[in-house]
Symmetry: C2
Subunit: 188 residues, 2 copies
Amino acid sequence: MSTTDTRETIMGVAKAMVQARGYNALSFREIAKDVGIKSASIHYYFPTKGDLGAALAQRYTDDAVGYFEQLLVEPLDLETRFRRYIAVFRAALLNDNRMCLYGIMAAEYGDLPPEVRAAVDGFSEANVRWLVQVLAPRHPGADDVQRRRAALAVFAAIEGAQLVARGRDDIAVFDQTVDAYRAAGLMP
Amino acid sequence: MSTTDTRETIMGVAKAMVQARGYNALSFREIAKDVGIKSASIHYYFPTKGDLGAALAQRYTDDAVGYFEQLLVEPLDLETRFRRYIAVFRAALLNDNRMCLYGIMAAEYGDLPPEVRAAVDGFSEANVRWLVQVLAPRHPGADDVQRRRAALAVFAAIEGAQLVARGRDDIAVFDQTVDAYRAAGLMP
DNA sequence: TGTTGTCTACCTATCGATAGGTAGGTGACG
DNA sequence: CGTCACCTACCTATCGATAGGTAGACAACA
């Protein structure tokens, strides 16, 4: 397998593990077993666990940003665009009751190495930026600070819906909660 | 020190540790060092780590239920009652950027022993039950299922606000997010 | 009153498993 | 021949858990 492929495989396996059980439960030996190499070899690609965690969070954010940009390019109405945004978080739950990487890492925030924290912060920032753009039509008279706060509230509500749905191991809880948000007028 | 005191001290130290760093990061040796006993002695009170985790979650729920009942007994208007409810979650963040025990354990759900999971589930259920009661005046025409869903959405939104505020290490984010929820009409 | 038995609330010492991490070797390939 | 992509073989630290012991309190009984 080429260097790049192995690196990708490691990241894919590690990402799934973090989403399922958290950063703390991530182990080089378990990753290695799933990838089909020895744990020492992972250090060849990621010298420390912090490096791997930071790379994971960075990649997760980059992927999201790419998807978000795509959503902005396509000619979609607000509701559809927003539904596709929500679908990202929904997909994580569908995938074996896993969580958004941000959500689980934010919960473990106090235990994260600094480089991982920094990468995690980038994800919420990317979400807020996108939401500010998309939700702008809903806040015609608002200034930037107000728009940012409204966007962060939408993001927080969705993360909360995911957290609670995971705790109940029931994706319907996620859907019903988002519906309730919509009914209240919090989001389109 | 009496048996009861030591048990209480262990639970207090362990609770703070879980809220700061999660169930996985909870270690008998660290607890023992803080309490001033040896790690083996903790097994005298809690045979396994799962027993300790379950006791923690159960106690957390019991305390919450007691507080909730008190809030219902006092003659308060809806806004005040609700503000005091929110204050519980706010207090966790104030206390060294810690999280609600439920929030952090829900994030680690996939890694929790069954007995801990069961105890964690009780907390969200207790919150929903209380919120259904308190928010009933806001949903005059709704049936029980709708009321429960609305209550769960409120709970989820608050947990999300806490999660994101912790990720930003900024309690103002929690306050602003809750304000945004209120402004949208999600909660009183 | 003195002894005996049992209980509590710890202790020391150690177990096997697992964590992240490292030094140095090896085979394939350009 | 050199570099890349791994490997074997280890290290130290820490994990939850267990075995077995002990000081002190207390109750019962002779």
